[in-house]
Symmetry: C2
Subunit: 278 residues, 2 copies
């Protein structure tokens, strides 16, 4: 059975697969695209990763992830900027149009959310020329507000766009990840505002209760309460025509066989997301 032509399997959904295993499971389940993470790419080596991806015939929808640059000026901040430059180069080499950026949380001991958010913007300004030269879009991912202290001080699509709009189209954009933004009363209006800025659309579902580790409370599309119809239609109307990734952090899914997960992801996407793609 073939997958929807725009469906991409984000590698984090089969977290324990190495790159070769992830590519194989994705091809076997009939996908045309995969979203990669830097850690398994580095484990395989960049040159070998490029060959493996070419041999697979898959597109690379995005590379996860850069970011984590909320700290004040320091050697740690320089190190983060340098690492993000390497991530841009890796995305370019792998043919990924988007480098997903997770902002980072409050620095240790800090209560200054406003300052941390300004430093995200400043870091992106440092990286924009490299990204433009590499034709890789720096793609800011708003994370759910429950992660604001420890993961990402950018919580809404509106915030991501406030930063992205300071840079040229194609250089800085935003992720719409249903899990992170579905609750936002301004979501549909912000997606409309985001025309030309959506550089990645990621889908997974939200179910209650959250598990003990709130990072892992994500589910196959259709297994929770998110209305994929309205969000997907809005993303389409905003002109996004790229691949749609399914990215699920869920211990049970991580523990299942990769082929089974890839197939079930493909089928749940076909049932509840694909009907709303044009």
């Amino acid at each position: 059975m073939s997958a929807h032509p725009r469906l991409s399997l984000n590698q984090a959904t089969i977290k324990y697969a190495d790159l070769a295993e992830a590519l194989a499971a994705t091809v076997t389940a009939g996908y045309e695209s995969i979203g990669l993470w830097r850690e398994p790419v580095q484990a395989a080596g960049l040159s070998r990763s490029i060959r493996l991806v070419e041999d697979s015939g898959l597109r690379v929808s995005s590379l996860c992830r850069g970011g984590f640059f909320t700290m004040e000026e320091s050697p740690a901040r320089r190190s983060s900027i340098d690492d993000n430059r390497r991530a841009i180069a890796e995305a370019h080499a792998l043919g990924a149009p988007a480098l997903v950026l997770v902002a980072g949380g409050l620095p240790d001991g800090s209560r200054d959310l406003v300052g941390a958010r300004e430093r995200v913007r400043d870091a992106i300004a440092e990286l924009a020329d490299d990204a433009a030269a590499a034709r890789v879009t720096l793609t800011i991912e708003p994370l759910h507000p429950m992660y604001v202290s420890d993961r990402a001080v950018i919580s809404t699509l509106g915030q991501a766009l406030d930063i992205a709009e300071q840079f040229p189209l194609g250089v800085v954009g935003a992720v719409v990840d249903t899990f992170h933004v579905w609750w936002d009363p301004q979501l549909l209006a912000q997606i409309e505002r985001a025309a030309g800025r959506i550089a990645s659309y990621q889908v997974c579902d939200w179910a209650t209760p959250l598990p003990a580790d709130v990072l892992l409370g994500r589910h196959y599309p259709g297994d929770g309460v998110i209305d994929f119809a309205s969000i997907t239609a809005a993303v389409e109307a905003a002109g996004y025509a790229g691949d749609v990734e399914v990215e699920i952090f869920n211990q049970q899914i991580w523990d299942a066989p990769y082929d089974e997960v890839a197939a079930r992801t493909r089928d749940s996407f076909a049932a509840v997301v694909a009907p709303h793609l044009s």
Copy 2:
């Protein structure tokens, strides 16, 4: 040692105390005000509760809680509206100026957040005359977005104000609870907008990681990452001159002796919140 004259101990902070015990602990620790919950009031009986409160000499800063009216028209919805009318009467009888309303989550099986939010507004419209007659402010509490599916479809102060502003000043207002709204990039602007609409200010802190039950991840002010200086100054500048409640849901704090909790709450408030009250 006396407490700050505007400090109020929300009864949920010493959840296992009955009403008499809660009043005693609050008086012993030198407070002038308490925030009550309906369950312990009902357990004591309303008439006896009124006498106990009068005998304590404490003010009642608010009554928690009404709301939970996101369901479609049905006997269950009628039952909820009736129960909210009783809550208004109880708040009036106890001398509480504010009835705190938690909206309720998505109805079972529903993915229609927009509709659920509209029904919150409609329910408040049904209750507004009763509230005005009782001189009790219907006080909408935005809850953190992590509760949107199961507790409250109202997630931001902006949403609460969008509803409140459809009704006269004093009839419908909003809670600012630091735990729920501290992450919001629009918070300070929305607090400024809320002039005359803030009917309750509640403080407690956020710390990471969240516990297994995300309802219980609240802490004494100062033990987490929230900047009480900027938020408290903004609430003051918006003209709020009422009591300030400390409401902490935390299993360890619930398991501690009531007098110890009341004293530690008083002292943490004195250290990190009171300096920012005029």
